[in-house]
Structure formats: structure tokens, C-alpha cells
Symmetry: C2
Subunit: 245 residues, 2 copies
Amino acid sequence: VTALLSPNELEARLQATGIERYHNRHPFHTLMNSGGLAKSQLQAWALNRYYYQAIIPIKDSVILSRMTDPALRRIWRLRIIDHDGDSDQDGGIARWFALAEGLGLDRAYVASLAGILPATRFAVEAYVHFVREKSLLEAIASSLTEMFSPETISVRVAGMLKNYDYITPKVLAYFEKRLTQAPRDANFALDYVKREARTPEQQQAAIRALIFKCDMLWSMLDALHFAYVTPGLIPPGAFVPGEPQ
Amino acid sequence: VTALLSPNELEARLQATGIERYHNRHPFHTLMNSGGLAKSQLQAWALNRYYYQAIIPIKDSVILSRMTDPALRRIWRLRIIDHDGDSDQDGGIARWFALAEGLGLDRAYVASLAGILPATRFAVEAYVHFVREKSLLEAIASSLTEMFSPETISVRVAGMLKNYDYITPKVLAYFEKRLTQAPRDANFALDYVKREARTPEQQQAAIRALIFKCDMLWSMLDALHFAYVTPGLIPPGAFVPGEPQ
């Protein structure tokens, strides 16, 4: 049996989970930050991660549809507004397109999802299934990877600007926005989880939800690494650097 | 076999459907508008319809979660923002609480859903299931009852202000807002349906979606009429006028 944790003990467990499992520790990110990837490998990364970006407002709308409290919905809808913006030139998805185009990808090809790895598709869609099928507490807890994203982004942006001469702050504008959005979102979700996880079972479920999310992000990088770094076995139909898109 | 309709023919069919089936024609509404209901019957109406109001942002979030186009989502999210507002004092749900309180109901009792008719619950939840399970086109088409709401609201507000001395414009503020929101929403949805229903099957499905929604609204009034007008058989557990809430 597991003991009931105090809210602060629960927070410490969530922190420890992220330190152990967040994808900033993945070898693909280490290579990326240190200048060890070719432009084509960065293209593969931007292309695949686009699907994750595209699904974020969808998974947040699923969560919104499960919230019966208008006050909760008023907070959560900000995530959707941030991501979709107020026009096609605005918002997180538009900024991800700018990043992909800055790396030399064709926007329509990226949007088509034609070249993404099947493992990317499965991982990203598992996230939507998770927030639809698990409890609202678990759905919210699965967003807590945002606790770890600002530091990771700071390291990433500094590393990429230093190590790739074709990467400019404008290309990385997506990440700069997330530096202010992610802490706001993470603080809200963390407060919610600390307040609403009132039994040992709920607390363990919240921790498992964060583990699930870390696994999901990690598996996306495993698939990228396998296809485009080592051993470099690109599955049939996936993006092939240099080929017509 | 059914022929492909032109977009304008489809619109005419949708119009005809609403004229035949929209709940403005229900005897309960006729009584309501003409001053034929007691305050306790208006209370039963406001109480039950609250659940419909409460579910609207949830069904719209489900629809949002099914939209893969950010441009579509940017439009559709306005419905959620209108309904939830920017605070507990703002938005469609808050205005419905004001209406219920103006009729002498306790806000917490209304919010608890404790006194609603089971038929109200089933009808309202059928709407959420519909937008989750049917095609996005049908989910959007089911909102087209809004084509008929401004005229219905105008008649209702005029009738209620004239016939019930305890009803003031402030109590009916919900409806005044809908006079501008509903046409904007209905125009968008109608344009979408006219554009996206490209086969006879899709056009018939869109018409059936509007019929479903009309049936759903109508059945809520049937249940109110049965329980609180004729024969006045209130089912066990439902709101009993005059009893402690």
C-alpha cells in the first residue's frame, strides 16, 4: 500500500519523475543542442514534431469537453487560444510552421503529415486517447511535462543558435513564446493536481500520467533517432532527406 | 435515390425543416409566451433548461476537438467563450443563472441538477453523444437550430415582458445577448454545411442532424409539459414547486 502524500511531497515526486524521464535527457536532444545533427536530421525532427504541435489544441479541446466547471474551462481554453492564435500568421502552430520553413521544409508537405514516422503518429494519438479515456485528473496531470520545458527550451535555444549558423531567433520564435506560456500553464496544472489528488490512488495515478507523457515524448525521439541517426533505417513512406517532398 | 441539391436548395430544405419542427411551435412555448404559465411552471422550465445551457460549452468543446483546421477552431471557440464568459458574473451560463434566480430559484439548487427531469438529462446528453459520434458535418449541422432562434427569442421576450409582471429585461438578459450571437453562429454553420455537404448522402445527413436537434429540444418541452402542465405527473425525485429545494 502507498501512503497519502502531502501536496508538497506529491510535487517533489512529480519533479523527480520529470528529472528522471523528461526527454531533454534523450541522446537525440543532446546531439541537437550540441550541434551534432545535420540540417536534414533537424528537418526530420521539425517535421515529426509538427504532428505533436498540431494535435495539442485537439487534446486540449478534449480536456475542455470533460470540464464541467466553467471557471476551469476559462483557464484551460487559453491553451487553445495560444496554440491556434488569432489568424493563420499567429499562434503556436504558425510558429512551428515558421520553424519548419526556416529549416527548408515545404509548409504544405509538413501540414500533409505525409512524411511523418508511424511511431510519431501512434505516440501522438496515444496522447489524445489518454486524455479522453483516463480521469480528468490524469488528463491534466499528463500536461505536467510543462514543468520541465522552460529550462529545456533555454538550453536548446542557446545551443541551437550557437551551433547552427542557419538557425536564427526568428526561426525559434515558437520556443521563446513557450518560455512565458509554459510556466503559467504548468503552475495551474500543478496546483490543480496537488489540490485534487486526495487519495493515494489518485496521487499515484497523477504520477503515472506524467510518466506516460514522458514516455510518449521519449518514444518520439527514439523513433527519430532510429530512422535518422542510428542505425538510420527510414521506414517505408517516411521523409527521406533530399528527396522531393 | 435522392438528387444532389444546390447549396441554396439545401438551405431551403433546412429552413423548411426548422419551420416544421423547431420548438417555438410546442404548446409549452405557446403557453409561456401568452402568459399562460404559473411562476412555478416557469421555474421548472428554467431549471430544466439550465442543464441544456450547462452542456453547450461541453458539446462545443467536443466539436472543437474534432476540428483539425485551426481556422475553423478559431471561429468555433467563440461559442465557448460566449457561453463561459470571462468570469463567474459573465457569459451565457451566468445569464441563465440570473434568469433562474429572477424566477425565484436557488442558484446552488439549479447548479446541482438535483431537480431536473430524467428526460431532460437523456435529451441533453444525447446531444453530446451525437456530436461525438456523428461526422463533423452532422455535428455542425445540429447547431442550425440557431437559424430559428432570433425570431423565436424576439417573440418570447416580448410575450414574457408583457404577460408576467415579475419578468424584467434584466431577468431575460440571456436572450438579448443571443440575438446577436445566434445569427453570427448560425451564418457560419450554414455556410459550412452548404459548402461541405457535397453528396446527396451528406446533404440528407445534414438535414437529419437538424431534425435530431429539433427532436431533442422538442422532447425537453414534452417532458416539461407532461410533468408540470398536463397531466402534471411529476416523476419521483424531480422538482416539486413550493417544496424546499
